[in-house]
Symmetry: C2
Subunit: 263 residues, 2 copies
Amino acid sequence: MGNAALGEPEETTAGIVIIGDEVLSGKVRDVNSPFLLKELYRQGVRAQRVVTIPDDVDVIAGEVRSASERFDFVLTSGGVGPTHDDLTFQGVAEAFGVPLHEDPTLSALLLRHFEDRLTQAARRMALVPVGTRLVQAGDTRFPLCVVRNVYVFPGVPEILKAKFEAVRQEFRGRPFHQVRVYTWQNETTLAACLEQTLDRFPGLAIGSYPTFDKREYRVMLTLESRDRQRLEEARDALLGLIDPAQIVRVEEPERAGAGPTGS
Amino acid sequence: MGNAALGEPEETTAGIVIIGDEVLSGKVRDVNSPFLLKELYRQGVRAQRVVTIPDDVDVIAGEVRSASERFDFVLTSGGVGPTHDDLTFQGVAEAFGVPLHEDPTLSALLLRHFEDRLTQAARRMALVPVGTRLVQAGDTRFPLCVVRNVYVFPGVPEILKAKFEAVRQEFRGRPFHQVRVYTWQNETTLAACLEQTLDRFPGLAIGSYPTFDKREYRVMLTLESRDRQRLEEARDALLGLIDPAQIVRVEEPERAGAGPTGS
């Protein structure tokens, strides 16, 4: 956010919306957002926000609308089954002020799957916002629904993963490069070195991660940028500020994950 | 939210704010919100929202302000160390429009801990919003800081847990009771039964959780209320709607977790 103005190339951004009372009550642990965060990062996309909200149409609509305006991509998870608390499509429709309609492709798939067990509740699963794009999702039973920049994933982790693979290539940002520095120096002393480095390289993403078992190192520092040359300069500047005797090792700049575009 | 009007006793609510670029980039997995969600539920407190945001003062301020207005309790995690990206106290101060000041108790503790290694960066850890209440937190090194209804936890899971125990008794809601029904019925048929039950018991929290291995049951239904008698009536109404041959077992109403007030 605003990094472009500070010397970093422009970001491709994403927001994640996890929908479900069962997550908020601690009954079901959200494993979908950790998966999506890792994969988006690999794609070079910067996730800016994850929010977990109840099964409530107005809350869903408000979050989806706001995320859709602010981020390049929005990924939702949960709330797309046949029961009374599956309200995601209603929320997305309300977010964009469009009506729901029965999608003929989805209806045909539901009819084929449920045959004579096709109830009113199951029919609800074919009601999607007008303007929904269907993406065939590998060997999953139903396609993925995309409404403008909102990708509507189911809450079941295995199905979410399969559907993510079907659209992975749509999430493209310029890949990140990362350097890691492992050191024995304590975090409070390092804080001053990091601040000086940031003064020279504004907008660079710097992280500081203390360990508490302290067997191999005390603090891991990470420097991150889409601009490899700038990253190497920042690394050299930082290493010039830390007592060399305190440095355990420095890892070479490398692509963070395997983004789709070449470095 | 609004359940009181629908026949459910009034809720005690909470919002959780997870702060840290390292979570959003998938480098560090958030284990704090799953812990806090479970524990709040045990305390009878309804978490309404979890949001994960970057290390950005304005974003922190905006989320904390909005959560503080809407929920009884706000719990934040992360961003309280000595480095440049530890901005939580600045964000909380901005949320409430109060200045930071150096707290003498925290300063003394930092001085005792760091002795002559006390740097400018470490001193920053004593800068907290005016009006901060300090809560002694077991054998953790520093007290927990509470600003109005905002509990500022560190991101390190072990320390967060220890500090939560120190204030657990401050989070009190009326405890939830829960009934579980395990069934072979498919979810689409059950959806109609659940809707009829909800028509008779508006505002009751009902969940429907399909399994995919299907060895013991196909769908677990949960009914949840603070009002045990109402819960038993709703359970009987629901069971009257499901084919008895499809019911695997029904668990007795029980306290969900071990809330602090008697049932």
